[in-house]
């Protein structure tokens, strides 16, 4: 297999034309002294290389259609997502374990349920992209929820100390802050759902319509994905904040996270 099997000459020309837009952005950056040129160049090249490798890789996987490889790829995605999310909570003990528990549990549970119920066909070309969307969203929500909980705890150390001093368990002391963090982390997901179809057409649905699918079919498929994402995001947010809160207290039920 070579690249021409995936990308036609016509596509390459389109890509080059689209790349010219990056050049325009770079000119704006230069003129306005935004100091974005190197960042833009690196991120554009990275995006190009990563997506091309992914395309080649997916082609191979789609040809093989092996459950073991599909699972391994999903697991790899989850590990990378967990690592990325953990970097947001470096100062918390067991940050990677927390984000991995959150992302792996929430995304694999939802993917599994959808596959078992037959909503998603057990085929690489469905599971990998959809799984990736779910995992990516779980990663974002885990980062958001952990970041928010860190902020809430930092702003409420006096309140936590006061409640603990009254004989509260750690979960009693921190539960109002977990609730706030979960709610805050889900705001983008919920707002997206509210404005979907009014303000924006979701990427997956757009792609399907462009690819020739009937809009109503594309809408149904998009809704399935959105509900999957909402469910997995909620689970990820709850797990990450609960797991993180446990690591904010010491063995004597004392608050140890004091930035």
């Amino acid at each position: 297999m070579n690249i021409e099997q995936i990308v036609s000459m016509e596509d390459v020309v389109k890509l080059i034309v689209a790349s010219m837009l990056i050049g325009v952005v770079m000119i704006i950056s230069y003129v306005r002294r935004l100091e974005l040129i190197s960042d833009l160049a690196i991120s554009s090249i990275r995006a190009f290389v990563q997506l091309m490798i992914l395309a080649l890789f997916l082609q191979v996987i789609f040809d093989i259609q092996n459950l073991f490889w599909i699972s391994l790829i999903l697991l790899g995605m989850m590990v990378i997502a967990s690592y990325t999310s953990a970097k947001r909570a470096k100062e918390i003990r067991n940050a990677f374990r927390i984000s991995a528990t959150s992302i792996i549990t929430s995304s694999s549970a939802i993917i599994l349920v959808m596959v078992v119920l037959g909503v998603i066909p057990l085929q690489a070309e469905y599971i990998i992209p959809l799984g990736g969307m779910v995992i990516g969203n779980c990663m974002n929500i885990t980062s958001l929820a952990m970041e928010r909980l860190k902020g809430e705890v930092a702003n409420n150390t006096m309140m936590i100390d006061n409640i603990l001093a009254l004989g509260a368990r750690t979960d009693q002391a921190i539960s109002p802050l977990i609730k706030k963090s979960v709610r805050a982390s889900l705001i983008p997901t919920v707002d997206n759902m509210k404005t979907m179809g009014l303000v924006w057409i979701p990427g997956l649905m757009s792609g399907m319509i462009i690819g020739g699918m009937d809009p109503s079919k594309a809408a149904v498929f998009q809704l399935i994905i959105i509900f999957m994402i909402l469910a997995s995001n909620t689970i990820a947010s709850v797990i990450s904040t609960m797991e993180m809160s446990k690591n904010m207290f010491g063995s004597a039920d004392q608050l140890i996270y004091r930035p």
């Binding site: 006096m158 309140m159 100390d161 006061n162 409640i163 603990l164 001093a165 009254l166 004989g167 509260a168 368990r169 009693q172 010491g250 063995s251 004597a252 039920d253 004392q254 608050l255």
Partner: protein, 233 residues
């Protein structure tokens, strides 16, 4: 109802570390039951840190603290904090009424609810305060409410971290009087951190001087101020 059991505290070689540095160094002292024990010393001496080790809001790395002869590490933290209450420098009123605040401890720990009138009488707040919003009280009143909130759990010991430092002079005087009255009427062991030496002299039965994380000395308050008259200036 609020007659405490005992409340004797003994600390032996207590060392607390943070970021690899010892901030409390081998503090050994004995806090007699049902008396007012003040901890004095310059800021940064480790007074508040040591105070917080007694209810384990800060954990110690080495040594031991015993409450009524039993290591505090052997108590469940919840049980320990029911027996060793705490009042902080800045009074914090939780959302809701004074009643909600006073019942918070017993509700959290599933203990019997106290007589609110008795509690309010004890700290010198009018009984009518019970239905008032806690956040609408003056800072001095909030601090007295916080003391009542700590008593509501029926503790043997109350730790007080600079309890008058954020109050105006009149409120501070009332809280000081309250501290002395509580020691006599309620039979509590009171451990009070203060940077105000004069206050320490007025209220303390015993005084411990701390400097640079160490306990320099512990003695009867009158003897302490005879021996170290210079600290008052």
């Amino acid at each position: 109802m609020y007659q405490s059991m005992s409340g004797k505290i003994e600390a032996e070689g207590v060392t607390v570390s943070a970021q690899g540095k010892d901030i409390i160094k081998e503090v050994t002292t004995s806090i007699p039951e049902k008396e007012i024990f003040t901890i004095v010393g310059p800021s940064g001496a480790g007074k508040s840190t040591f105070l917080r080790t007694i209810n384990r809001l800060i954990d110690f790395r080495e040594g031991d603290i015993r409450l009524d002869g039993r290591s505090i590490r052997e108590y469940e933290p919840v049980e320990l904090r029911k027996r060793v209450g705490m009042v902080f420098q800045i009074p914090l009123a939780f959302q809701g009424t004074v009643e909600d605040n006073l019942l918070m401890g017993p509700r959290l720990t599933g203990s019997a609810e106290p007589d609110l009138d008795e509690l309010l009488d004890m700290v010198g707040l009018a009984r009518g305060f019970v239905k008032r919003k806690a956040s609408e009280l003056s800072v001095g009143e909030q601090q007295r409410m916080c003391i009542a909130r700590a008593i509501a759990n029926g503790p043997e010991v109350i730790l007080m971290d600079e309890p008058t430092a954020s109050l105006d002079r009149e409120s501070a005087r009332k809280v000081e009087e309250l501290i002395m009255r509580l020691s006599q009427e309620v039979d509590l062991t009171l451990v009070v951190v203060t940077h105000n030496m004069e206050q320490g002299m007025r209220i303390g039965d015993w005084t411990m001087l701390m400097k640079e994380g160490r306990a320099v000395t512990t003695m009867k308050t009158d003897e302490f101020f005879e021996m170290y008259p210079g600290v008052l200036s």
